[in-house]
């Protein structure tokens, strides 16, 4: 099976000289739930941002479905972002817009600019947005302003927005890091549902190893911008754990 995403020796050096990624390579298989772990500052967010092209890698290549998308611009960039959706730790919704409008923002890339400004989305897009709000169980809030929802609810709206894009990959940058343990499982369950029922490939940054074991098909680990582990969650032994997180680290469980 051909990988849907190939990351080849990707490097990212920020303008301030910080080397966040130092040549990272891995493949993502279609339909997979891949989890990225690593200490704070190890480069997880940078990696996802490079894939979605919110940042441009300073070295290496990224291939999406066999096509080199590194440094895509203009139309190509739009295509990439359409197919490679992203959700964020702080949800990044537009606070003053309604839940439905936020979900509809996922259709912006295929709506002409002028039409979108006057909110002239196609009926199809409207239905899609509502359908996905339904999928993440938040349809009844469709006409409430996004900033009046709880964190977990906002993240579900963000998932709906990304689904409205009709993506093939969903990148999730610590989607549950600012949620309480209970809500955290709800959101992760929806991501799993998206992965299994819609067949969307998920690449997800996570902090807690207990979550990793529960949701990941495969795990990669970053340490100081380098890939140090690539395998099944069951293979993360205590030694591996200490390599990834450092000697002093102890595993914590959240239920």
């Amino acid at each position: 099976m051909e990988p849907i995403l190939q990351v080849r020796n990707v490097e990212k050096t920020y303008d301030n000289g910080v080397k966040a990624l130092k040549g990272v390579s891995f493949d993502v298989n279609p339909g997979e739930f891949l989890v990225v772990i690593g200490l704070s500052g190890s480069g997880k967010s940078t990696l996802l941002r490079c894939i979605n092209h919110l940042h441009t890698p300073t070295g290496g290549e990224i291939h999406f479905k066999g096509k080199n998308i590194t440094g895509a611009k203009g139309k190509d960039l739009k295509e990439v972002r359409k197919k490679v959706a992203m959700i964020f730790q702080h949800f990044n919704l537009v606070p003053r817009l309604s839940v439905l409008d936020n979900a509809l923002n996922g259709a912006l890339a295929r709506t002409p600019t002028l039409a979108s400004i006057f909110k002239q989305y196609s009926d199809e897009d409207r239905e899609k947005a509502l359908e996905y709000l339904d999928l993440v169980g938040i349809r009844e809030k469709a006409f409430i302003r996004a900033d009046q929802l709880s964190g977990g609810q906002q993240q579900r709206v963000a998932i709906a927005r990304s689904l409205t894009q009709s993506p093939e990959i969903l990148l999730a940058d610590e989607p549950v890091a600012s949620l309480d343990p209970a809500t955290c499982h709800t959101v992760m369950d929806y991501l799993k549902k998206v992965n299994k029922e819609l067949g969307i490939t998920v690449v997800c940054n996570l902090h807690f190893l207990s979550l990793v074991r529960q949701y990941a098909d495969r795990v990669i680990a970053l340490k100081q911008g380098e890939l140090v582990f690539n395998g099944s969650p069951d293979d993360i032994t205590d030694e591996w754990f200490q390599t990834i997180y450092g000697e002093q680290a102890k595993e914590v469980h959240i239920n």
Binding site: G17, K78, F88, V94, L97, N105, L108, T113
Partner: protein, 364 residues
């Protein structure tokens, strides 16, 4: 291996950055001390030096100043580095993160306090001299007589002029209104081009940013009163000139207010919309605009309020409105009419102020 290397270079750069900051601080403190020493020396020289007739000799003083600044800087350096005395410059720019310890000496023994006190005393002395400060003038009997005459006039207002005053004040309100309404859309567009976070993407947009920023800053720093004089020459004396002057000044001021708001927006929504593949205009419309509509509106209302007050003043140089009447009545020493006009202006300004504050609170 590569890991070790990069770590070492990381350390290096942070150390050299620290050094750079220290040099920067040392330079700033030298400059501040040099300026203070220059001022003190110049004050003393002008005190003990011979009285000069006519204008000052600019060339002489330029060279003198240059010399004094250099000497001042050198003195500061010697004090700081050789005598390890803490100067004012040093204590102003001191940085706790470099472990600059707080001095333990009593306040009257601290050199920097004496430096500050001396500078203040000499500044006060020069200030009194330059403003012709005089208690004798204030308590002069003739002067007090004159003020009494004017005040009684104003306090017994002549209400014959009331209809004209009200007509003129309505004109003033609409001068301000037109200036604001025309300025808002232009400032709206300009504010994005003058917002650093939006324009610092590449050198082309940054060039536009720099030029526009300069132009609006210059426009703003020229008083609306001066613009009014320019426009009375251009389009003739009257309300149109006043409106244009306020319009220009409002564009510059609102652009500054607006662009500061645009610089303060949160990146989250911008990233969120960008990540969906939306175009640049869609990003602005869906991620930036919703964050700024209400604060922009609040500023626009506030600007109208300010413009009403400024329109009153601008009338004084022929910009139309109630200021025109005021200068006319004052010129003909009809103090009763002045009284009426002052009351009308006060009431309108107060009403506008209250209304604009109320509106701004309501839309928060």
């Amino acid at each position: 291996m590569s890991l070790l290397n990069s770590d070492a270079s990381g350390m290096d750069s942070s150390v050299s950055q620290m050094e750079k900051k220290k040099v920067d601080v040392a330079f700033k403190s030298l400059v501040l001390d040099a300026v203070i020493f220059w001022f003190l020396a110049l004050s003393v020289i002008s005190m003990v030096g011979p009285e000069t007739e006519g204008y000052i000799d600019l060339q002489y003083y330029s060279f003198l100043s240059l010399g004094l600044l250099v000497v001042g800087g050198a003195l500061s350096y010697v004090l700081q580095a050789k005598a390890s005395i803490k100067t004012l410059g040093q204590s102003v720019f001191a940085m706790p993160q470099f472990g600059d310890e707080q001095s333990q000496t009593a306040w009257y023994l601290s050199f920097s306090n004496w430096e500050l006190a001396l500078a203040f005393v000499f500044a006060l002395k020069s200030g009194i001299a330059f403003t012709d400060f005089s208690l004798i003038e204030i308590f002069d009997a003739n002067g007090i007589e004159g003020v009494k005459r004017i005040l009684t006039g104003i306090l017994t207002p002549d209400f014959h002029i009331l209809p004209r005053a009200i007509e003129a004040v309505v004109q003033t309100i609409f001068i301000a209104f037109m200036a604001t309404v025309l300025a808002v859309p232009i400032a709206f567009v300009l504010s994005f081009l003058c917002a650093k976070n939006i324009m610092s993407g590449n050198s082309f947009t940054f060039g536009i940013y720099t030029v526009l920023r300069l132009v609006t800053n210059i426009t703003r720093s020229i008083e609306a009163l001066v613009w009014a004089i320019v426009f009375t020459v251009w389009v003739g004396v009257g309300p149109f000139a006043g409106m244009l002057a306020l319009f220009l000044h409002s564009v510059a001021s609102l652009t500054k207010n607006f662009s500061e708001l645009a610089e303060g927006i949160s990146d989250g929504p911008v990233e969120g919309i960008k990540s969906t593949g939306a175009g640049p205009l869609q990003v602005v419309w869906f991620a930036v605009v919703p964050q700024i509509v209400l604060p922009y509106t609040a500023f626009a209302i506030y600007r109208w309020d300010i413009n009403v007050r400024m329109a009153t003043i601008i009338g004084l140089v022929g910009g139309g409105g109630i200021g025109d009447l005021l200068i006319e009545a004052q010129g003909q020493l009809r103090w009763g009419e002045v009284g009426t006009l002052v009351i009308v202006i006060a009431v309108v300004v107060w009403l506008m102020d209250a209304a604009s504050a109320y509106l701004r609170e309501a839309i928060k």
